[in-house]
């Protein structure tokens, strides 16, 4: 486990009551949303992989609340919370998990590939480390177009070992790009513990050799995360240079739903759970007199109801039509007049590939078709 730096009390001051309550609400939404997503996965309403961010809510909300509306946020395959924190409609996030047409990405991306352009959530990406160059590209465009916006790029401790990490740090520092890199250090790259995957476990130092100075925040503490991220964003916006922020946190659930968690002890998980960011922050608000017990319970009930509505919405949303299969591969125009003009086999679907002829209801195991179980994943379904 990485060393955690205790924050001086004066820095841990809460924001204004309305702001603090909004933060708590956002953290609650992520927690309840993720819990329900896990349940829906167990019921096979959600397919593929499902990576939950339970335990990382303070990192997500503390950092995203430091952003301005026009700033870009980019994240990883564990990104339901990020897009929710940026303001995405929970209905559409859940519908994306269900693979339905009303999903944020029309059911094309699924859990690992959320995207909400309107709210400047620039995507969850399934390739570890793949999002770093993109983030530097956003920052390059902001700089080039002389816009005030900055980019916050979040990735895990595991991604700090990818080649793109060093390459992007170097380029961002060399070109003085307005970007903040944030390592969500949840102590594990999938099932490999930090000290087993990184020679340097003080991850904030990992950018130094590339000219990117590091800072660390307590990722279990929304206020500290907010403060440190705010300073990093200020440096990006005003001083036009990148920084690397290590947010020290922990995920309470497995890497994905398909994770027997043989790589860590229950004791370690329990130790971290004592610092559950949702509980700690809620308690802080109560101690500060911002929130009563009843109000806290009412907030939680409302949040659960909100997530219930999202589940109902997702369930009612139709599956994409087979006719949608080839939509949006290309921007159509003068050069690409239809997908078939690129496929070029025939302008009409040819034998064996007439997807529209395939009636879902006629498929074997039609009920399960909504959430195809990937090979090797079935045995883990009942976990949690």
């Amino acid at each position: 486990m990485a060393e955690r730096v205790a924050q001086p009390a004066e820095q841990a001051g809460l924001p204004e009551p309305a702001v603090a309550l909004e933060w708590l609400g956002s953290m609650m939404l992520i927690r309840r949303f993720e819990e329900r997503a896990g349940e829906m996965y167990a019921k096979a309403k959600v397919g593929g992989f499902l990576h939950l961010a339970i335990g990382e809510e303070a990192t997500i909300v503390g950092s995203t609340r430091a952003l301005r509306d026009q700033d870009y946020l980019i994240s990883t395959y564990r990104s339901h919370g990020h897009t929710l924190a940026r303001g995405s409609d929970p209905d559409r996030v859940m519908a994306e998990l269900f693979g339905r047409v009303d999903g944020l990405c029309r059911g094309r991306g699924g859990s690992m590939h959320m995207f909400d352009r309107e709210n400047r959530f620039m995507g969850g990406y399934g390739i570890v480390g793949g999002n770093l160059p993109l983030a530097a590209g956003f920052a390059l465009a902001s700089d080039y177009l002389e816009r005030d916006e900055v980019t916050l790029c979040q990735f895990g401790d595991g991604a700090s070992n990818q080649g793109t990490f060093g390459e992007t740090m170097n380029l961002a520092a060399l070109w003085k790009l307005p970007v903040v890199f944030m390592i969500t250090n949840n102590q594990f790259g999938m099932g490999t513990a930090l000290e087993r995957h990184s020679a340097i476990t003080d991850l904030l130092r990992k950018g130094e050799g590339f000219g990117v100075p590091g800072m660390r925040c307590d990722g279990m503490d929304a206020v500290d995360t907010y403060n440190v991220t705010s300073e990093a964003l200020r440096i990006a916006r005003e001083e036009r240079r990148p920084t690397l922020v290590e947010a020290v946190t922990y995920r309470f659930r497995g890497h994905s739903m398909a994770d027997p968690e043989e790589y860590r002890t229950k004791e370690q998980v329990d130790e971290w759970r004592k610092r559950d960011p949702l509980t700690v922050f809620g308690d802080q608000l109560m101690e500060a007199g911002i929130l009563s017990e009843d109000e806290r319970e009412a907030m939680d009930r409302d949040t659960i109801e909100r997530v219930d509505r999202a589940v109902a919405f997702a369930d009612a949303s139709p599956h994409p039509s087979p006719n949608d299969l080839y939509d949006d591969i290309y921007v159509l125009g003068d050069q690409v007049r239809g997908w078939y003009s690129v496929d070029e086999r025939t302008p009409t679907p040819h034998r064996g590939e007439d997807e529209t002829a395939m009636d879902r209801a006629d498929l074997p195991h039609a009920a399960e078709h909504a959430a195809t179980t990937p090979p090797g994943d079935a045995s883990q379904r009942e976990e949690d």
């Binding site: 944020l104 059911g107 991306g109 590209g137 920052a139 992007t168 591969i329 050069q335 496929d343």
Partner: protein, 328 residues
Amino acid sequence: MAVMRYREALNSALREEMERDPNVMLMGEDIGVFNGAFKVTAGLLDEFGEKRVRDTPISENTIVGMGVGAAMTGLRPVVELMTINFSLLAMDQIVNHAASIRYMFGGQVRVPLVVRMPQGAGHQLGPTHSHSWEALYLHVPGLLVAVPTTAADAKGLLKSAIRDDNPVVFIEHEYLYGQRGEVPDDEDHTVRFGEAAIRREGSDVTIVGISRMALTSARAAKTLSEEHDVEAEVIDPRTLRPLDLDTILASVRKTNRCVIVEEGWPHGGVGANLAALIQEQAFDDLDAPIQRVTGADVPMPYSKPLEQIAFPHEPQVVDAVLATFRDR
């Protein structure tokens, strides 16, 4: 019309598009102060400055990825990779990101990015600098793929690529950089993707030549006419995604014979794919099996004589054409 070299035609396309659109910018290794490894970007740093012509570190995956990100947020980046061989380092950003992003995010975003790079053997550069991999990029939905052969096409296709809103893999050829050709003076000279060029008309056999092999095929056609009384129609597809299959099929329906010539490897190659397309849609028009002439199925050797026999030359094309007449 002006006569210029292929590399000069590319240079003028870049210059004109940068003048036309302030959001077109260039990134690549040694494209600025060094003027480009193959001098395609010569003079552009002086003309447009460091903001728009950026020398990068040797970080292929990241410079392509930054191009993807910048394309998603308002720019039209043109990234140069020194050779197609190095593009494998950027395969993740080209395939998993540039090609997939629009689709996987439900059409919310565009990626108007061009990745330029040359390919081709013949300079004794051995197995890491000499390959031809248009087939790798042809394989990927979401990409457009250009393989220009002439100076006019190099310019016209590059201008179209930069103006297009899709990610384009633009494959140049090291041998062709020095070749001269006539290029229209018109600043709006563009060549639309998906339109093949018939380089030579003929009635006896269709030869489809990819990239430099369109020139090799044209030379073979001349020999076939002079020495074997065979009139070959030579088609240069110019782009592989989209592919102008109609022009190829119309030719095959006329000649009833087809030979496909490419510099890349045989298995899973452009010719393998094209032969499948032709037999699917023009089987009854074929009087002989489709012949393929490809690079040898080996990593490119350094030795000059070995290298020369490892990629197609005119005699191999002539032999392959004559093989389609063997039943005569």
